[in-house]
C-alpha cells in the first residue's frame, strides 16, 4: 500500500520534472527558430557597407548608420537619466522612507506604472518633453521618454536587490556608529549592486527595442546624418527595421532581418558588458 503510493508520488514528480524541462526548452527552441530565420534572411546583407551607409531606396546601397548611431545616443542618454534617478528612488523608498500611507501610495503607483503600455509613455513624452519643454524630436526628448518607461523597472529591481541584503549587515554598521548614509553607501548598496545592475540591463534592453513611444513622439524614419549632440534629430534601429519590414519589396524584408541581427548584437554586447562588470565586482568583494 505504502509502496504503491510512493510509486505514484515519484511518477508525479517525474511528470512535473518533464513538464518543467520542456517548458524551459520551449523558450530556447522558439528563440532558436527565430534566430535561424532571421540569420538566414539577413546574414547575406550584413557587411561593412550596411553599417556605414545611410538608408536608401536601393536595397543594395542601404545601410543603418543613422539608426545605429541614433540608438547608441538614445540608449546612452536614457541610461544617464534613468540610472541615477532609479537607484536614488529605490534606495530612498527601501532604506530611508518611513513606512506610512504616503510611501505605500507611492509604492502602489510605481508597481502600476511598470505595467502601463509603452505607447502611453509616448503620449506623455509628446505632451511634456516635445511640446512643453520644446525639445522637439531630439535625442534628449526620446531619452527622457524612454527613461519614464523604464524607471519603474529600475526602481522595483533596485528595491528587490536591497531587500535581499541581510539585515545583519545594516545592524553591524549601525552598531559601529555608522550613519545611515555611511551604511547605505559603503555596505548595503555595494552588496546589492549585482542585482541592481541586472535590473538596469533588463530595463535598458527593453528600451532599446521599443518603437511605439518613439513613433508617438515623432522620432523620424529617414535621417541621413548622424546626431552630433543631444538636441539633434535622430532615428533608431527598431524604427528602421519596422519601416523596412512594412515595405512591399522582399529585399527590404531581408534588410529588416539584417537590422534585427545588428540590434541583437548591440543587445548582447550590453548584456555581456554587465556580466563582466558584475563578475569584477563580485571578485573584488571576495
Amino acid at each position: 500500500m505504502i509502496s504503491r503510493n510512493l510509486k505514484n508520488r515519484y511518477l508525479i514528480a517525474k511528470i512535473f520534472h518533464g513538464f518543467c524541462f520542456s517548458v524551459a526548452w520551449l523558450g530556447v527552441l522558439i528563440l532558436g527558430i527565430l534566430l535561424f530565420h532571421v540569420t538566414r534572411e539577413g546574414f547575406p546583407w550584413l557587411d561593412m557597407q550596411f553599417l556605414t551607409e545611410f538608408p536608401s531606396r536601393f536595397p543594395a546601397k542601404a545601410g543603418i548608420k543613422s539608426a545605429l548611431y541614433g540608438t547608441l545616443w538614445l540608449i546612452s542618454f536614457t541610461a544617464l537619466i534613468s540610472v541615477p534617478i532609479g537607484i536614488g528612488a529605490g534606495v530612498y523608498l527601501e532604506e530611508f522612507a518611513k513606512k506610512n500611507r504616503l510611501t505605500q501610495f507611492i509604492d502602489l503607483n510605481i508597481a502600476n506604472l511598470a505595467g502601463v503600455p509603452s505607447i502611453v509613455y509616448g503620449m506623455l513624452g509628446l505632451v511634456i518633453f516635445v511640446r512643453w519643454f520644446g525639445l522637439e524630436q531630439s535625442v534628449l526628448a526620446g531619452s527622457m521618454t524612454m527613461s519614464l518607461l523604464i524607471l519603474p523597472v529600475i526602481i522595483i529591481s533596485t528595491r528587490e536587490a536591497l531587500r535581499a541584503v541581510p539585515n545583519t549587515i545594516r545592524q553591524a554598521a549601525f552598531a559601529l556608529g555608522a550613519t545611515r548614509w555611511q551604511t547605505v553607501s559603503a555596505h548595503v548598496l555595494p552588496a546589492a549592486f549585482p542585482g541592481v545592475l541586472t535590473g538596469i540591463i533588463l530595463a535598458l534592453s527593453r528600451a532599446i527595442g521599443e518603437t511605439a513611444p518613439l513613433i508617438m513622439i515623432g522620432a523620424l524614419t529617414y535621417v541621413a546624418f548622424v546626431p552630433e549632440g543631444p538636441m539633434d534629430d535622430f532615428t533608431a534601429l527598431p524604427i528602421q527595421i519596422f519601416n523596412w519590414a512594412s515595405r512591399p519589396q522582399k529585399e527590404f524584408h531581408e534588410l529588416a532581418a539584417a537590422g534585427i541581427l545588428v540590434l541583437l548584437f548591440v543587445l548582447l554586447l550590453m548584456n555581456s558588458l554587465a556580466v563582466i562588470i558584475r563578475h569584477r565586482l563580485e571578485k573584488r568583494k571576495q
Binding site: 545611410f54 538608408p55 536608401s56 531606396r57 522637439e136 524630436q137 513613433i215 515623432g218 522620432a219 523620424l220 524614419t221 529617414y222 535621417v223 541621413a224 546624418f225 534629430d233 519601416n243 519590414a245 512594412s246 515595405r247 512591399p248 519589396q249 522582399k250 524584408h253
Partner: protein
C-alpha cells in the same frame, strides 16, 4: 588669337562651375517632413537624391501617418506633409487658426488593387456595385454566392487595411460613397504585408491594398479587374496612369506650408521633387502622373510661393493647386 579664345572659354567654364558650386553651397538648413507611410518611399528617394546635390541640407522624414502628420503640419512644426488623402475640413480649420496656408501637389498615383487567391478561378471581374455590396456597412454578404448566384457557396474571407490608413479612407469613399464607412467584420491590419499573406494563404479570400504590394507579390496573388461603368479594367502602370482604372486609382500628395515655401532649401526641394517624381516614384513601385501634371504643379507652386513673398504670413490665403 586661339589662346585668347581658349582663355575666355576656360575662364567661362571655371566661373560657371564656380558659380554653380556656390549656388549649391548657399542652400543649407533643415527640411522637416512627416506624414503618410504610403508616400514615404517616394519622399525618401527624393530626399536621398537631393542630399547628394545639396550636402548641407538636412532632410528628415517621419511616418506619423497622414493624419498624424497633418497634426504637426497645421501647427507649423513641419514644412511638408506627405498625404495619401486630401486634407480634411477639421485639419483645414486648424491650419487657418494657426495662420498656416498651404499648397497641395500631387506627386504620383497609387492604384488600389482588389486581389484574390490564385486558386480562385471563378471571379473574372467585380463591378463597383458588387464591391459595394460586399464592403458596405452592415453588408449581408457572407459567401461568394451572395455576390453572384453562380459563384460557389463558400464563405468569403475579407482582408483590408485598418481604419487609420489613408488607403481605407480612399477605398471606402470610392466604393461606399463615404469615407470610413465600411463593414467592420474583416481582418484588418496596418501592415499590408500581413494582408498579402492572408489572401495568399486562403483560396476564398478577397482583399485590397496599394498596387506596389500586388506588384511585388504577383506570383502569390491574382488581381481582380474592376468595372467602374466602362467595362472591367485591370490595374497596371498604363491603366492607372491614363486614368482608365477607375475609381480606385488615387493621387498621393505632398502639402507645402507657406512658412516652408519661403525657405530657400524647401523651395528648391519642392522643385527638385516635382522634376524627379516621375522617375523616382516608378523606382519605388508607384505610378507617375502624366508629365504635364508635374509641369502644371511646378508652375502653380512658383506662382503661389511668389505671391507670399513679403506678405504677412498669417494672411489666410489657402490656395489649392488645380487638379483634375
Amino acid at each position: 588669337m586661339n589662346r585668347l579664345i581658349m582663355f575666355f572659354a576656360l575662364s567661362a567654364v571655371f566661373l560657371l562651375s564656380f558659380g554653380g558650386n556656390s549656388y549649391a553651397e548657399k542652400i543649407a538648413g533643415k527640411i522637416r517632413i512627416d506624414g503618410s507611410s504610403t508616400v514615404f518611399p517616394i519622399t525618401e528617394a527624393v530626399a536621398e537624391e537631393f542630399q547628394k546635390k545639396h550636402r548641407k541640407v538636412r532632410v528628415t522624414v517621419g511616418i506619423s501617418g497622414t493624419g498624424g502628420g497633418f497634426k504637426k503640419f497645421t501647427t507649423g512644426q513641419t514644412d511638408i506633409n506627405d498625404a495619401s488623402r486630401p486634407i480634411k475640413k477639421s485639419e483645414q480649420e486648424k491650419a487657418q487658426k494657426n495662420g498656416i496656408s498651404y499648397i497641395d501637389l500631387p506627386v504620383a498615383y497609387d492604384g488600389l488593387s482588389v486581389v484574390i487567391n490564385p486558386k480562385n478561378d471563378f471571379v473574372d471581374h467585380l463591378t463597383v456595385t458588387e464591391l459595394r455590396k460586399i464592403w458596405q456597412p452592415g453588408s449581408a454578404v457572407k459567401t461568394w454566392s451572395d455576390v453572384r448566384p453562380e459563384w460557389p457557396n463558400k464563405a468569403i474571407k475579407l482582408y483590408g487595411p485598418g481604419a487609420d490608413s489613408g488607403t481605407f479612407d480612399y477605398f471606402t469613399k470610392a466604393i461606399n460613397g463615404k469615407s470610413q464607412a465600411s463593414r467592420s467584420d474583416f481582418t484588418a491590419s496596418e501592415d499590408d504585408n500581413v494582408l498579402v499573406m492572408g489572401v495568399a494563404g486562403d483560396p476564398y479570400a478577397l482583399g485590397y491594398f496599394g498596387y506596389a504590394y500586388y506588384k511585388e507579390n504577383k506570383s502569390r496573388l491574382k488581381v481582380v479587374p474592376v468595372d467602374g461603368g466602362e467595362g472591367p479594367v485591370k490595374p497596371s502602370e498604363k491603366s492607372i496612369n491614363d486614368g482608365s482604372y477607375k475609381p480606385l486609382s488615387r493621387p498621393i500628395f505632398i502639402y507645402v506650408s507657406n512658412q516652408g515655401s519661403q525657405k530657400s532649401q524647401v523651395k528648391e526641394f519642392v522643385r527638385f521633387y516635382l522634376k524627379n517624381a516621375a522617375e523616382l516614384s516608378k523606382e519605388v513601385g508607384y505610378i507617375p502622373l502624366p508629365d504635364k501634371d508635374y509641369q502644371n504643379s511646378l508652375n502653380e507652386f512658383e506662382k503661389w510661393s511668389n505671391t507670399l513673398i513679403g506678405k504677412n504670413q498669417s494672411g489666410l490665403n489657402v490656395k489649392k493647386a488645380s487638379f483634375k
